[in-house]
């Protein structure tokens, strides 16, 4: 497939840009932060109206079936203004698990409400500080009535606002193995489940979940018992690449703001951007961003095509993007100088969000390691 956007995709990008610039400028994030709130239900409603909640959901279940290249464009624009929403968890990662593992009944029952934005889903996966899906230890013990879930989940993005959870649990084998994992649907009000949310540096809330013998019906298991890994891996690839797309927007915007500053700000009687040492650093960052754009686009296409090299491309894109985003926000703050360190100025928000997004669905080290392993070394 050619590495260019087709006309439909370009139109989506343009409409995404104007919607997000209008409805969710960086100042919205600041307001939410100052009010101690994580998200804006109005913005969520707007995203649903734009159809974004259903971009990846099949038409038969109320979605647009537009594909992941389109989704990537939406996340890139969201990254540019640091728009905060449960879009990634709910409409892309959880919906992918439901679409892949669910039976017809489950899909018909659950997907339309995701596509419409009515139900918000969160993925309860991590139990460790460093991303390691196979380390899942939370147990789902089978009995006559279904399963009893016991254990803890950490760092659950959007866990504070989701109505529904997809919980990854171990029905077999030891923690550290890819087999023996199952996926369950759990209501946020389930008995025995307690949810505690606290803010991260990017002002988004993450939840800690405690499962104290939470009862789950057998009918609320998605797919076969112990066989969730393949679908989980795909959903996590989707999460990794879309968070890479968001990082692309964050980095590109931080870079452009820095370029603007370099052109306008004067020191020693000349524009700061006339200093060759800064010019060369800016040029190097530009090259890195060009590579990132290609990497992200290709990985998105690979998800759409379900290409055999999907996972390796996903890890390449996330690793490259995480490293470049770090460079971009570091250079942005450094080149802005003192003003870049102030809360009053927006650039710090980009640094904070980049750090959080870089961790989501695996950081640089996780993906560089996986990239090597999948490459045979």
């Amino acid at each position: 497939m050619a590495l260019v956007l087709n006309e439909e995709q370009q139109m989506l990008r343009d409409s995404a840009k104007s919607f997000i610039q209008e409805s969710s400028p960086v100042s919205l994030l600041r307001e939410l932060r100052d009010r101690g709130e994580e998200w804006s239900p109005e913005l969520w409603g707007g995203m649903a109206d734009m159809g974004w909640t259903g971009i990846a959901i099949p038409e038969e279940h109320g979605g647009l079936e537009f594909g992941y290249v389109g989704a990537g464009l939406v996340f890139e624009e969201c990254g540019r203004t640091l728009a905060s929403s449960p879009l990634l968890s709910s409409s892309f990662v959880c919906s992918a698990l439901i679409a892949e593992l669910g039976d017809d009944e489950q899909k018909a029952a659950l997907l339309p409400a995701i596509a419409s934005g009515e139900t918000i889903w969160a993925l309860a996966l991590s139990e460790t500080d460093r991303f390691d899906p196979a380390a899942t230890a939370l147990t789902a013990a089978a009995d006559d009535e279904g399963y009893l879930l016991s254990g803890n989940k950490l760092h659950v993005a959007d866990g504070a606002i989701a109505n529904k959870l997809i919980v990854v649990a171990r029905t077999d084998a030891e923690p550290g193995t890819e087999s023996g994992l199952s996926v369950f649907i759990v209501d946020r009000d389930a008995k025995g489940l307690s949810i505690a949310a606290s803010p991260n540096l990017d002002t988004r809330l993450v939840a800690k979940l405690q499962f104290d013998s939470v009862r789950v019906a057998a009918a609320d298991r998605l797919g076969d018992a112990g066989a969730a890994w393949r679908a989980l891996e795909r959903a996590l690839d989707i999460g990794a690449v879309l968070s890479a797309a968001e990082l692309l927007g964050i980095s590109q915007e931080a870079f452009e703001r820095t370029l603007g500053y370099l052109r306008e700000r004067k020191q020693f009687g000349v524009p700061v951007g006339s200093f060759q040492a800064l010019q060369h650093r800016a040029a190097q960052l530009f090259c890195e961003l060009e590579l990132c754009r290609s990497a992200v686009l290709k990985a998105l296409q690979a998800i759409d095509a379900n290409a055999p090299e999907r996972s390796r491309l996903a890890s390449m894109a996330k690793a490259k993007m995480a490293r470049t985003a770090k460079l971009a926000v570091n250079e942005a703050v450094q080149m802005h100088g003192g003003i870049g360190m102030t809360d009053e100025f927006d650039i710090g928000f980009f640094m904070k969000r980049a750090a959080a997004a870089s961790q989501e669905y695996g950081d640089y080290y996780y993906h560089a390691d996986r990239f090597g392993r999948l490459g045979g070394y």
Binding site: D129, R130, H155, L201, V206, N330, T342, M351, A355, D363
Partner: protein, 391 residues
């Protein structure tokens, strides 16, 4: 027994008797530090006693002359005092820009009268000082400062504003660069003034940082009257004092890298958090980055040591401060990046101003390579002054 050994024994005994138990704990947060000054509220009676006892011996400024209230210790004695304090984890009784920065400049540039007037209260922690250097529109071009002091016969009238003044809102006096000649080349019209922050016309406004803390202020001067005797050094020669102080400050900030070098190894922290396999950190990529960092950290700590030893041996190049400032701050930023990677998602939570999280320390560290002369400025200095590369 040698003099040194005697001094060590006496010091140990004195500390044992005089350092309150609660002052023998490592500083955990900003609150644990004592800055003194007119408005200081002691955290505890112990904190007050500890400051008073140490100040009485002049040991808040151990090597300063006794006649100005200092401890009058030799370099060797001061080192012994430091070692003995470290061995019981005694806190520094007083944090002070007066001691770390202004004092050395006063000894070098001030009149005898000024020394007698200003130094003893610094030693006793009675007056808390802040520095007024950077200005809102100057950035790295410090010498382009615009705060003016107009000669009004018996006093100067100061107008303008400063930025990045550390703790200006909590300080009693300021040492301040002002322009006294607007026609001279920019480095030649600057003077060095001292004045009371309680003077009419001084206002301060804390600046909130991306880390959530507000250690710096913007400080505005509107028709502030400053007596002429508060001018330090010659009129229009203030840039010499500024350069002297900047060199000093660079070494302090660069020392960040060192001050933590003695603390826990980043690699061992990682090994505890992440675990090892076959004696190696379980994450091979992160391990490689940590090893590269720790190699640099060790070589940097050795370089600080070498610079000190060379200076003692009279072999110093004098060029070291920019190297240390540049490298020390870049290393500190890198250490924070690695700690964030080690912590993973567990390093992302946001805390409060009082209980800052790893993420907040990481964000704060980004300023290290901007404040006190940015990394770019240090690179310029090294290239031109040390390497002699052409303009």
């Amino acid at each position: 027994m040698s003099d040194a050994d005697t001094f060590r024994q006496e010091t140990r005994a004195w500390l044992e008797e005089n350092c309150p138990a609660s002052m023998r704990r490592a500083v955990k947060s900003d609150k644990d530090q004592c800055w003194g000054g007119r408005n200081w509220v002691f955290e505890s009676e112990d904190q007050k006693i500890w400051l008073e006892r140490m100040a009485e011996r002049g040991w808040t400024a151990p090597q300063w002359p006794v006649e100005y209230g200092g401890g009058g210790l030799s370099r060797q004695e001061a080192k012994i005092l430091q070692e003995e304090m470290a061995s019981i984890v005694a806190r520094r009784p007083l944090e002070s820009f007066g001691i770390d920065m202004l004092g050395p400049a006063l000894f070098k540039f001030a009149s005898e009268e000024q020394k007698q007037r200003f130094i003893p209260p610094i030693v006793r922690g009675e007056i808390r000082w802040c520095q007024g250097y950077s200005e809102p529109n100057a950035g790295s071009d410090l010498a382009s400062l615009q705060t003016r002091a107009d000669d009004q016969g018996d006093h100067y009238l100061v107008n303008g504003s400063k930025i990045w003044t550390s703790y200006a809102d909590k300080s009693d006096w300021i040492f301040c660069l002002v322009r006294t000649d607007f026609d001279a080349p920019k480095h030649q019209g600057i003077s060095f003034l001292l004045f009371d922050m309680a003077s009419p016309g001084v206002s301060t406004n804390p600046i909130k940082l991306i880390s959530g803390n507000s250690p710096f202020c913007e400080t505005v001067f509107e028709n502030v009257r400053v007596p002429k005797e508060n001018l330090v050094g010659e009129l229009n020669k203030g840039w010499d004092i500024a350069k002297y102080l900047l060199t000093h400050e660079r070494q302090m900030i660069g020392g960040f890298g060192l001050s933590r070098a003695g603390s826990k190894s980043t690699g061992r922290t990682a090994a505890q958090v992440i675990g090892t396999s076959d004696g190696r950190l379980a994450d091979g990529g992160l391990r490689a980055d940590i090893a590269a960092f720790e190699i640099d950290e060790m070589a940097f700590a050795l370089t600080v040591e070498r610079v000190v030893d060379e200076a003692k041996a009279g072999q110093g190049t004098g060029a070291a401060s920019s190297v240390l400032k540049l490298y020390g701050t870049e290393l500190n930023k890198l250490r924070n990046e690695l700690l964030m990677s080690i912590g993973g998602s567990g390093a992302l939570p946001w805390g409060s101003e009082e209980n800052a999280t790893l993420a907040q320390h990481w964000l704060r560290s980004k300023g290290n390579s901007i404040e006190g002369g940015s990394s770019e400025i240090q690179l310029n200095i090294i290239a031109k002054r040390i390497l002699g590369l052409p303009a």
